[in-house]
Symmetry: D3
Subunit: 311 residues, 6 copies
C-alpha cells in the first residue's frame, strides 16, 4: 500500500514560463528512459520478485527506488505544468486578460501553433502530458522485468545511466531556472540510483573499475548539480518505507561505486516542499466553471465550515 | 511525495495456479480501463489541477483515489503473479522438478504454447505484465486530463463504471478463488470511486436519478461481492494521506449517489495484509543465481547480521 | 454529405454462433487490408483529389467505391456481431439462462477464456471491434494517399486484390454459413473494385494481359462465390450517388479487365435487406437496463405515441 | 447502406493558405476526440446495438449522429486540404511557377521544413491526413462501445463535450477565415450532439442542472459561433435518413438540456454547398500526369461525349 | 556495402511442421530482444559511431556482430517458414490435395483458427512475419543507440543476455528438432556476443567476476547446446568482413569473460549450408500462378537458356 | 549469409551541417516508404519465397534488391549523421569549444529546442534514428509479403515508385549538397528498382504503356539526378551476390520499361567509397570517455601493436 503527503520531493525555483523547456522535460517524464518508466519498471520488478528470504534486501532496494520514482513523476510533472502555465499571456507580452475572445474574436492561444507540442494547449490545459519530447505516448512495452536478478540489475543500472545522460543533455538545452532546478536534482538522484544497482551487482562479484558514474564527463561542473553533490545527495538512498521494514540498507552501504570517495547511507525520506494549486486559465476553459457553478462549490465549502463548527 | 508499506490492500485467497484467469485479470491491470490507467489519470489530474482554494477538495479527492490505485496495481499485479506461479508444474501434474532439461532435453515450459499470452513465460518469468488481456501494451494515450473540471469528473465516473463493468464480466469468466477475491474487492472499490465522482458532480448540481451504480445489474448478488457490500466498503473513501491534509471529506459525505441507502464517509487507509516474496523458478532462470552467486548473497546477509550485532 | 438507409447491402444467412469465424472476419473489418481501410483510403483520396474537370470521372469512381465500403463495414461488422451473439449459451449447450451468477456465482462467460480474442466478451458485448484478427487496433497509418493519380490507382488495385486474397483464405477457414455469405459477397465485390481501378489504369495505357483478377486461382469454384459471379456482380459498379452526379460510368464501361468476357456497367445502388436489432444479453450487462430504467424508456415510447396521436 | 451527394454540409469561407491552421484542424479530423473517432464510435455502437423494439429511438439517434459525422470528416478534411493547397507558392510570395526545379535545382517545397507536419507535403500532396495535430495516426483503440447503454451515452456526452472544448481552443489559435468557418460550425454541431446524448440520459432519469453545455464558458460570444447559435443550429438534429425510418425524433424533442431556452427538433438533412476539385500541383507531382497521359484522359472524356451523343 | 551468399549460417534439421513452435520462434525474430532488433541496433551503432582512430576496434566489433545478425534473421526466418510450411495438410493428416475447395467448399485452412497467430495463414502464406510471439509488430523504438560507448556496450551485453535467456526458455517449450537446431545455435552465438561486449567493457576496466554468462544456469546441459559448446562456438567471433579490414580481433582475444577456460579468437565467416526454395502452396494462392502465367515464366527461363547458348 | 565491406555505396558530398535537411531524410530512412522498409520487405519476401526451380530468377531479383537496400540504409543513415554532426556549434557560429558547461552553466545544445526532432540531440548523439520525418518509429506492420507473386511484385513496384516520389519531394525541400548527393542517387536507384519489378511483371504479360517511371514528371531535369541518368545508373541492377549464383539477370535484361530507350543489364556491385568514423562530440557525452578510459583504450591499441610485432 502507498500513502501520499502534500509535499514535493524538491523545490522548484520560480522563473518565467518556457514552453520549449517544458517540452524538453517531457522526455524526463514520459520518455523511454524517463520517470514514468523507472517507476513502473521497479514497481513491476518488486511485484514479480523471486528468491528466498536472503534476497529480500534486493527486493526492498527495488521497492524503495520505485516509490521514489512516483515522487519524481510528481516533481517533473509539476515542473512542466509550471513552465507551461501562463505562457500564452507571457509570450505575447500582453497586459490585458487573454480570454476576451467573445468581444473581438481574438486568438489568445496563438502561441500553440509555434510550440513544440500543440497538445500542451489543445489536449491538455497548459499541463504535463504522459508523452516524450517528440510527442510519443508512454508505452508499457518500455517496462523490462526478465525475472533474472542479474539481468534486471544490469538493465536498471543502464536505465538510470541513460536517464542521467539525457538529463545532462537537457541541462545543456535550457537555462530556465525552474527547469534546471528539477533537472539538476534528478541528475543527482539518478546517480544515487546508479550507485544502488551498481552496488547490488558488486555484491554479486562485479568490479566496476572506474567506468562509473555514466556519463563519466564532469556533470559535477554544472553549477546547480555541483551544489547538490557537495551535499552528498548522490550517496544517500531513501527507503520511503512507512513501516520501516525495508532491508535496502543491507546493500546500500560502504564505499560508493561512483569512485568519488563517499560512503553510501540510507534514510526514510527527505523533508519536502509544499505543493500548491495552479491558477484558473480561462482561455483553456480550465477549470471552466461559470459563476453559477462556482457558487455551488463555494456553498459546499461553506457548508463544510458550518458542519465543522457544529461538530 | 509517496510512502510505501509492506502490506497488500486486500488479502488474496489461496487457490491453484490458473494462467487463463491470470490473463483475464491483465485487462484489470494493463487494460484501457484498468488500474494502471486510473492511477496515471488521477495522478496527472492532481498534478495539473487548476482552481482557487475552494477547489481543493476536488483536487484532494482525485489525489486520494489516485493513490489508492497504486495499491490496486500492486494488488492485481500480485494476484496475476500468484495465478501464474508454478503453473507449468501444476498443469502437467508433474511431481519431479521441472528444471532438469539438461539431463533429457525436456520441455518444462511446454504449457506456454497453449496459454493466452506466451509472454507470461517467455518475456516475464511467470509474472504480471503491463499489457491488457489481448496483449496490447499499456499506452499513455489512454490518460484523459482535459483540465476542465466537469469533463474530468464525468470522464472519471465513466472510467470507474467501465472498469467495474469489465470486472463483473471477468467475474463471470472464472471461479478461481484467488482471482475472484481480488476481482470482487475491485468491483466494490470501483463503486466507491463511482460514488466519489458522482458525488462531486452532484455538488455541481447534477441529479443522477436512479442510473447509478453502473452497471446497474445486480452485481451485489455475486457472493464474494455481496459480502463486501454488506460491510459497506462501497461507501467509504480512503484518503491515503500521510499528513492528513486531505479535504476529500468535504465532498465524500452524505447520501450515496448509488441509491442504496448508505451514507458516505472517509478514513485514512485500511488495515492491510502481509506481502510475501515468490519462490525461485529454475525453469525460468529466475532469479537465476547459481551456488556461487547465492553464496555471495548469503555472505552479504551474514555480514549485515554481524554488523548489526557490532553496532 | 452522406445519407443512410436502414438496409444491409447483402443478406446474412442464419447459422449458429461461431466466435472463431467471427474473429477471422475481424481481419476483413479492421485489418490492414480490410473494409475500414478501403473506406478511409478512398474517402481521403476523394477529399484530397487534384486535377482539372476532365479528371472528375476518376474522383467520382473513388468516391463511389469509398461510399460502398461504408456499407461493407456495416455488413461485415453486423456479421461478426451475429456470429458472436449468444455464443456463451450456445457453446455450452446450456438450456438455462446464462445470467444467474447471483444465485450461484456461476461463470456464464467462461467461453471467453478459450476464444481468439477475449475482448469480444470483455471489452465489447459480443460485438464487432475495430481490430484485426490478431487483435491489433486499426491504424490511420494504413491509409495511402500519395496524391499521384497513377500511384493511387496502382495501390488501390493492389489493395483490393490483397483484400480479396485474404477473404479467399478466410473462406477456406470456415464453413459457417453466416460467415460465408458475407465473405463470398465481399470476394465478388472486391473483384468489381479490382476491375474499377484496373480499368482506370487501362485508360492511361496499361494492358493487364491475363494477370487479373488477382488472386488468379479459381475462386469462382467456391460455390457461394460462383453463384454471385453467375449473376455478374463482379462487373457492376454502384455509384451510391444520391444526386446522380457521378461520372464514374465514363470509366467503368467496356470489356472487363478480368478477362472473363463480361462487360462493365454501373447502377446507383442494390436493393438491400432489412437491418434488425440484436437482443439483450444480460451476462454482458448489455444494454444493462433494470426494470426501473426500462419503465422510463417505455414511458418515453408511449408518450411519443400519444404525442403522435395528438398531432 | 449509405449514399453520397456531391454537397458539403457547410460552406468553407475563402481565405489565404495557412499550414499552421491546417495542422491545428488535424486534431478535429484525426485526433482522439475528432470527427473520425465520433464517426467510427457511433457506427460501431449502431452495428452492435442491443435492446428490444422500445430501444430503437436510441439506436436511430446513434445512427443519425454517426452518419452526420461522415459528412463532418468530409468537411474538415476538405478545409485542411484548402488551407494547405498552394501554401508553398503563397508563403514565398513567388509569382513564377513553383515547379521549375529542373532548370535551376530550385526548392519549391522549402516551406515543408518549417511547418508543423512535414508529411503534409512529403507523404500527402498538400492534403489532409488521418492523424492528429501532433502527428499521431488515428487508432481503432479510440473507439468506445461497451454495449451498456447508459455508459455508451455517458461516454458520448463526454466525447462531444471534449470535441467542442478542443475546437473552442483551436478557435482561439487562428483567425484564418476558412479555418474559423468550419470550426465555428463544428462547435455548434457538437453542442447539438451534446444535447442529443444528454437528452437521451434525461429520458433515463438524469437531471443535468446547469452544467451543460460543456465547456460552460461563453462560446456563444465567439462571433462566428454566435451567428449560428442565433439560427438555432445547436438545437436541431438531422437524421440523414434516406428512407425516413429514423425514430430519433422520439428522443430529440422538448426543452434543450443546454438550458438556453430553445426547443429541440429534427430534420432530414441541411441544404448543402457544392463540392469542387482541387487544382493540379506540379511541385507535388500531383496528379502527376504528363502530356501523353493527359491526352489519354482527354480522349476518354471525348469518347464519352461522342458515346452520349450517339445514344 | 553488403554482399549476400546463397548459404544459411547453420543447418536446419528436418522435422515435422509445428505452428506452435514456429510462433514461439517469432519472439527470436521480431521480438523486442530478437534478431531484427540486434541487427538494427548494431547497424545504427556502427553508422553513428564516434571516436578517434583508436576506437575503431569497437566500431568494427559492432559492425561484425551486426552483420552476423542479418544472417541470423535469415536463419530464424527460414526456420519459422519451414515449421509452418505444409502444416494445414500435416495436422489434418490429409492425404488428398488441400486445395480442392471449388469442388466441395472445403476448409483446407481450418487449422488457422486454432493456432497462435492466424496471420501466419491469413496475412502471410505459411511464412515468417516481422512480429513477436504475441503478435506485436517490430518497432523502431526498440533500437538503443545513446552514442555513449560505455552505455551502448552495457546495453548490448544486457540485450544479448536477454536474447539468450528467452531462447533458453523457448528451448524448454518445444522439442521439435527443426526449432531446436536453430534455437541451440542461437543460444551459443548469443553467448559469443555476450563475450564480445563483456570483453570490450573489460578493456575499459570492468571485472565481471563470475556473473557471466547470463543466464548463469547450466544451459550447456541442453544436449543440442552442449554439442556446439564442445566445438567452442561460443568463443569465436566472425568478422563477416569482405575486405578483411575489421579490427575486431584487437578486442575479441584472450581469456573468455564467460569464465569457461576458453580463449577468444576470430575468423571471417563459417562455412554455410545451402538455401532452398519452398514449394508452392495452392491453398494460400502462393505463388498463385495459373497455367498461363506459369507458361510465361517457363518461356522466360527457356529464352534465357537459348540466349546463354547463343552467347 | 551476408558480408560487409568498409565502403559506402555512393559518395556523400561535403557541405555544412543542416538539421532540417537531416530530418527530411529520415523519411527516406525510417519512413513507411523508406530504405529500412524496402530492405526488410525484400528480405522477408526472399526468405518466404515459394515456387519451383523456374521461379528462382524472381527470388534472386528480390534478394539482390534487398541486399542493396541494406547498403542504402547505411548510406542514408550516414548522410543524416553527417548533416547533424557539429550542428550545435555551426549554427551558433561559435568558435570556442561547445562543451564548457561546467564553467558557466552554458547551453551548448540550445539548438535542439528549435529543430524538427529534438531526439536527434537528446536520445541520439547527433546521429540517425529509426524513425520517419514526423518522428514515428519504424514498424514491422509496414512489411508486405502476401506470398502471391503477382501481388508482391505489384506492391514492390508501387513501393519503389512511392519512395522515388517522396525523394523527389525532399529534393525540392533542400539544396544542401550532402543531402542532395544521397537523394539524387536514391532517386535513380529507385527507378532501377521500379524497372526490376515492372520487368518481372512484363514477363507475366503486363504491358506498362507509357506510365513508367512514376512519378512521370521530369525528375531527370534535377541537375544531380540528370548526371546519374546520363551514366545509365537507372538501368543497371547489382546482384550483390558473393558467390555469383544470382539468376536475376534472366529477368533484368532487354528494353527498359521506363520507356527511355535504354537496355537493362546487371553487375555484381559498384566500386564504393571509403567509410570514415565521426569525431567525438563532448556536449553529447559521446563517446563519453574520460582521460582514464581513453588511456585504457590506448593501452589496448598499443598492446595490439606489440602483439602484432611479436608475431
Amino acid at each position: 500500500m502507498y500513502l501520499h503527503t502534500q509535499q514535493l520531493i524538491n523545490e522548484i525555483v520560480v522563473d518565467e514560463p518556457d514552453p520549449a523547456a517544458a517540452n524538453a522535460l517531457q522526455e524526463g517524464l514520459g520518455g523511454q528512459f524517463g520517470e514514468m518508466r523507472t517507476m513502473m519498471q521497479y514497481l513491476f520488478q518488486s511485484i514479480n520478485f523471486r528468491g528466498d528470504a536472503s534476497a529480500q534486501p534486493y527486493r526492498d532496494l527495488l521497492q524503495g527506488v520505485g516509490t521514489e520514482e512516483i515522487s519524481h513523476v510528481e516533481l517533473i510533472g509539476t515542473t512542466i505544468s509550471r513552465l507551461l502555465d501562463g505562457s500564452p499571456r507571457y509570450n505575447g507580452k500582453r497586459t490585458d486578460p487573454v480570454d476576451q475572445p467573445g468581444a473581438k474574436g481574438a486568438t489568445p492561444l496563438k502561441i500553440a501553433l509555434d510550440t513544440s507540442n500543440i497538445h500542451h494547449y489543445l489536449v491538455g490545459a497548459q499541463g504535463a502530458l504522459p508523452v516524450d519530447a517528440a510527442g510519443n505516448p508512454w508505452s508499457g512495452s518500455y517496462v523490462y522485468n526478465s525475472g533474472n536478478l542479474v539481468l534486471d540489475l544490469l538493465y536498471n543500472l543502464m536505465l538510470e545511466s541513460t536517464g542521467r545522460l539525457q538529463k545532462c543533455r537537457i541541462y545543456e538545452m535550457t537555462d530556465n531556472k525552474a527547469a534546471r532546478s528539477t533537472i539538476a536534482y534528478l541528475i543527482v538522484r539518478d546517480q544515487a540510483h546508479e550507485n544502488a544497482f551498481a552496488k547490488a551487482l558488486e555484491s554479486l562479484g562485479v568490479n566496476w573499475g572506474s567506468v562509473l558514474p555514466i556519463p563519466k564527463t564532469n556533470a559535477e561542473q554544472f553549477p546547480e548539480v555541483k551544489k547538490l553533490l557537495d551535499q552528498g545527495l548522490q550517496s544517500i538512498q531513501f527507503t520511503f518505507s512507512a513501516d520501516d521494514k525495508s532491508q535496502a540498507d543491507k546493500l546500500y552501504r560502504g564505499a560508493s561505486p561512483s569512485d568519488d570517495g563517499t560512503e553510501l547511507s540510507t534514510a526514510v525520506m527527505p523533508e519536502g516542499f509544499p505543493l500548491t494549486i495552479s491558477p484558473e486559465r480561462r482561455e483553456e476553459f480550465s477549470p471552466g466553471l461559470d459563476p453559477e457553478l462556482l457558487a455551488l462549490i463555494q456553498a459546499t465549502a461553506e457548508a463544510e465550515i458550518r458542519s465543522a463548527e457544529g461538530e
